[in-house]
């Protein structure tokens, strides 16, 4: 790969992306348009996250890539390989050992620490998109802090279902100002956004937007006094490591309704059980 620059992108492009990242950090939750490049992986596979990672990664970084919380899903493997090839940096599956983590759909269970950067892949950055399809309109709504429609939408859920029926990409207000779509992480992960010690960067390649939550920034999930925000929970522990209060994936193990519930965060789960511990019998 000597014919490509470190981390694939040329330095000019990285500089352009870093400028967008800096602006995003300066205005938390605000979507900064950037000149997203065509990447050698498909739109929807994490081109935004890859560009952000490529522009902030350095030779001494230790990179972790997860998809659905797991280090071993095909897309996570593919992106990790991409950076291993184009940068030669060390990679890891350990949340603690990583300095830079690219993720799709999850925030690790292991608490992040200061100095770490979490890069989230974002398909649709605009939180108001399902309420207003036009970009020209939604930009105006952000400028005027006109977020009433989102509260109305949540309220309609409550009148219809008795609760907010939004389970992922649950809208948040960042630093008391910008309405933000926290990428399609489950609302389970929303509390991890609030006052996170790590820098959170969001990259949307196809939609050409970057936004950020700087460390220790307030992030509030929208709710009402009489309907406070709450996260999903499972009335059973992880079948592999016995963890309670972790996000569980459901595996269908036979055709008779047999299920296995296991941590979606593979690193977290593996660390909690002795090496080679097999799954509990069905």
């Amino acid at each position: 790969m000597t014919r490509y620059n470190f981390a694939y992108l040329d330095e000019q492009t990285k500089r352009m992306i870093r400028r967008a990242v800096l602006k995003a950090v300066a205005v938390p939750g605000y979507q900064v348009p950037f000149g997203s490049r065509e990447m050698p992986l498909s739109y929807g596979w994490g081109t935004g996250g890859v560009q952000v990672t490529a522009s902030v990664i350095g030779p001494t970084d230790v990179l972790k890539v997860i998809d659905q919380g797991a280090d071993d899903t095909t897309n996570a493997v593919s992106i990790r390989k991409f950076f291993a090839r184009t940068t030669g940096v060390a990679t890891t599956t350990s949340t603690e050992a990583a300095t830079l983590i690219q993720t799709r759909h999850r925030i690790p269970e292991t608490p992040l620490r200061e100095g770490q950067i979490l890069v989230l892949q974002v398909p649709i950055p605009e939180p108001l998109r399902w309420l207003e399809p036009r970009e020209a309109e939604t930009r105006k709504m952000h400028a005027l802090e006109e977020y009433g429609v989102m509260y109305v939408r949540l309220y309609e859920d409550i009148t219809r279902h008795g609760r907010v029926a939004q389970t992922y990409e649950y809208p948040v207000i960042v630093d008391g100002r910008y309405l933000m779509r926290p990428s399609p992480i489950p609302k389970f992960d929303n509390p991890k956004l609030d006052r996170s010690p790590a820098l959170l960067l969001f990259g949307a390649g196809r939609e050409k937007r970057i936004y950020a939550v700087p460390p220790w920034t307030r992030v509030k999930s929208l709710d009402f006094d009489d309907h406070p925000f709450e996260v999903e929970h499972w009335d059973r522990p992880c079948d592999l490591c016995g963890a309670r209060g972790a996000f569980l994936d459901e595996l269908i193990v036979d055709d008779k309704g047999g299920r296995l519930f296991i941590c979606s965060d593979t690193d977290f789960c593996a660390r909690r059980r002795p090496a080679g511990d097999p799954p509990r019998p069905m």
């Binding site: 739109y43 596979w45 071993d72 899903t73 389970t167 489950p186 999903e232 309704g257």
Partner: protein, 366 residues
């Protein structure tokens, strides 16, 4: 059973090997050469160059070969290569009036200076399978009066210029030397957009999408009463003024197809009745695309011309945000990536809602 989510790395490597084998097909059949693709699948190569925004026949042919003939995949390959290239400069506007013309038809005048030149076209072929073509060398090329080569006509006046002389059609805004041309591959699309960026978007846009949009305008969704004023196909020279020289230098000759649509405009309180323009320009012989592009370009000028904007075809956010086959293909296909986590959240919610509704819950078997 837990193995199912493991082994991603090996699966990917194997998938790549399987793909390479499928691409090659039966090894007893001779392998395609790039020259064969470039020469004999020339229109596929043209389409890949247009939508890939890169004029390089050899690379486009390679992309067609590598993608097993999936042209959107080929376009993607070419785009991903193009994005790594430096942008050295901006060419001068093409002078299509000086085109070495191989085909030129106008649907609005029976005859015109320079005449109509049919050129190589499918238009009047009978779509009968030519079984002689099935055997190599079966259908020898018959000698034809060829418009190509030194006989190609140059300096044919453009039909639009003839109309313009009489003031019947809106004038093209004069090119300004200092006008900076937008580039979607460097800066994100913003709304409202300029016509330069719109035309770039349409030129890169998916042929099928533009065809459907253009067709919709003809069927009443943003109707703009089009006439094919002129379609011309041939070679034009590309010139660039290097900063250190200060005068234009010819750097290439490329083949393009240009379509100028003439559209009715009844006039408004402030302007008299006049024909308006829709414009399409593509590499090679992608004539269908050029025509569709011109229809959509005109539809998107509705707001500028004070027309009522009532159809998706006239809505620049709708058209420009969804025209790109690479973006569309990626986002549609990303649905096959794992969504276990979001789906699990939905499962939890739906089970809770069903429980609240009083529906007994099927026991989860361990």
């Amino acid at each position: 059973m837990y193995v199912a989510v493991k082994g991603g790395e090996r699966a990917i490597d194997n998938a790549h090997r399987l793909l390479a084998r499928e691409r090659r097909g039966d090894p007893s059949v001779p392998e395609l050469s790039l020259a064969q693709i470039e020469q004999q699948l020339a229109l596929a190569v043209d389409r890949v160059m247009v939508e890939g925004s890169l004029h390089d026949r050899a690379l486009a042919a390679l992309a067609v070969k590598q993608s097993r003939g999936d042209l959107i995949e080929a376009i993607f390959l070419l785009r991903a290569y193009r994005t790594t290239l430096p942008r050295l400069g901006v060419s001068l506007p093409l002078d299509t009036a000086a085109m070495a013309v191989h085909r030129r038809v106008s649907a609005i005048f029976k005859d015109l200076p320079g005449g109509q030149i049919l050129g190589p076209t499918f238009d009047y072929t009978h779509r009968l399978l030519d079984f002689e073509l099935a055997d190599p060398g079966g259908a020898p090329a018959s000698p034809a009066e060829d418009g190509r080569g030194p006989q190609a006509q140059t300096s044919l006046p453009r039909v639009m210029d003839l109309l313009d002389r009489e003031g019947l059609i809106e004038s093209e805004p004069p090119a300004r030397d200092d006008a900076r041309v937008g580039d979607l591959t460097r800066e994100p699309l913003t709304f409202p957009s300029g016509r330069d960026v719109r035309l770039q978007n349409l030129a890169r846009g998916d042929e099928g999408f533009l065809l459907a949009m253009g067709y919709a305008t003809q069927r009443g969704y943003g109707r703009n009463h089009p006439f094919a004023g002129e379609i011309r196909h041939g070679e034009v020279t590309v010139s660039l003024t290097p900063e250190e020289l200060g005068f234009p230098v010819e750097i290439a000759t490329i083949t393009v197809t240009e379509c100028q649509m003439v559209n009715q405009f009844k006039g408004s309180a402030t302007s008299p009745a006049q024909f308006t323009r829709g414009y399409g320009l593509v590499f090679g012989g992608a004539e269908r695309k050029a025509m569709a592009m011109a229809l959509v370009d005109r539809a998107l000028r509705g707001r500028e011309l004070g027309e009522e904007v009532s159809s998706p075809t006239q809505d620049e956010e709708f058209v420009l945000s969804h025209s790109d086959s690479i973006e569309a293909s990626g986002f549609v296909q990303h649905l096959k990536l794992p969504h276990y986590v979001d789906f699990q959240s939905e499962l939890v919610l739906v089970r809770d809602l069903r429980a609240a509704h009083g529906t007994p819950r099927a026991p989860v078997v361990q």
